[in-house]
Amino acid sequence: MSTDVMVASATLDIEKIRKDFPILERKVYGKPLVYFDNGATAQKPWAVIKGIEDYYTQLNSNVHRGVHHLSQQATDAYEASRRKIQAFLNAKHEHEVIYTKGTTDAINLVAYSYGKQFVKAGDTVIISAMEHHSNIVPWQIMCEDRGAQLKVIPINDKGELQMDAFAQLLHDRVKLISVAYVSNTLGTINPVKEIIELAHQYKIPVFLDAAQAVQHIPIDVQELDVDFLVFSGHKIYGPTGIGILYGKEALLNQMPPYQGGGSMIKQVTFEKTTYHDLPFRFEAGTPNIEACINLGTAIDYVTNIGLPAIQQYEHELLEYLTEQLLAIDKLRIIGTAAEKSGVVSFIVEGVHPYDVGVLLDKLGIAVRTGHHCTQPLMEFFGIPGTVRVSLAFYNTKAEIDQLAAGITRAVNMLT
């Protein structure tokens, strides 16, 4: 670990950070909110909340259309945000950053457009056994449509990808590999660098679902040499309804539009339409302007605190959480990979996860219960669901203590 990270961690003032998130001051059922559902969506700092207000009070107008002053300003802010995201990912070109409605939308875009251009009958697309439904179904639809087959990288009992089995799946007819950077259910950090290097030996592009990664791990798309990477704004402290598709210019340029409409065209006649250049070709219609601008605000906020410091602090929380949970009788953690990010799923023998979630809720503690949109994964572990605790850098060890006490109390009531 570098000294920079150590110093940064020492200066992370959690009490001060918590004051940036007004919702953390509210109570539920008369108890202070303890929010451990950050994997579903993260809370928003004042900077983002104010940013949305500022947009509607100062800037509101359509982008890339008007000659008037407001439209110019809104367009400038909209494009400035794109450059912030470019810098955040270290993308080579700003037009490699495409605004979408979210991770799901971005996956569907690539599944449709890349599929149409590059996937033919008899080809293969590879995903993994730990994928979110969003990173299964769009590929399934595309494969059915193209007459291609979907292959799945198996996992071991710890919830790690079986890299040997992965290597055996690779051949010339594999047209794309799409995997999660971090599993939303297990917290496993996949060896994405290794996956990309291996895939590139066969000239296979790699698509990363980074919805659970960008808010926890610094990402450099050029260093990774990843071909596509997608994430959602709302999980990185930004607005909902906004996501990002990063794609290499050379690939995006070969892909046909996903949706037709305004602002994605060069010229329209009833006979033939020619399309706009990147990134606008993939941004049909009036975008979610205030969200696009304030995703940039959220990224500024995260960058100012510093992802290495966030990563370090969240790792401390993760270790403490794991320790506290394992001290609870009959509790079993689902997902024990060597490399994990801020997610812990667990079950308690003889207790339904739903019951634990309901009782924790009444104690003011928000967790997620269920299959977490990963039904094939639940089937692999032979369980109906889990209780999932997902961390953010505004969480504290004191909150983890409250959680552990809450789980113990709930289990005592339920058994």
Partner: protein
């Protein structure tokens, strides 16, 4: 024989003793544990009401003009909630069940369990009970 509304009022009265949420849930869990289990032969997929998270099995019997429900769930809080609805609706005529307004759920502070996002199968179960009753009612008429 108490009417549907009398049973609901009785439940509201029982819950009025508890001011704290956790006490309320202690009671719901206790009710869940007391629920007469559905016979295994009826615990079939065709009797399964799919919530997103908790599963609920429901069986209806029609005897002497009255509908009798038995039910079970794999989650105990859901089972407790199910037991309350069974207690209210079971043993009544189809027409009474179809028309029943289950105001007790709101009155005892459990309205959230009927929201579609809770996905615990309770709302689907109530709908299913009414569907059974409606089918029996139209068969009888």
């Amino acid at each position: 024989m108490m009417s549907i509304n009398e049973i609901q009022d009785e439940l509201i009265d029982e819950f009025s003793m508890y001011s704290d949420w956790m006490e309320k849930y202690e009671y719901i869990i206790q009710l869940g544990k007391e629920l007469p289990l559905i016979k295994d032969e009826y615990k079939l997929d065709e009797n399964l009401i799919r919530g997103c998270q908790a599963r609920v099995w429901l069986h209806a019997d029609y005897r002497d003009g009255l509908v009798h429900f038995t039910a079970d769930s794999d989650a105990i809080i859901t089972k407790g909630l199910v037991s309350m609805v069974v207690r209210v609706l079971s043993g009544h005529q189809p027409a009474e069940i179809v028309q029943a307004d289950l105001y007790f759920v709101d009155k005892v502070g459990l309205k959230e369990h009927l929201s579609v996002t809770r996905s615990n199968g309770l709302l689907s179960m109530i709908k299913q009970m009414k569907v059974y009753a409606l089918a029996l009612q139209s068969k009888a008429s």
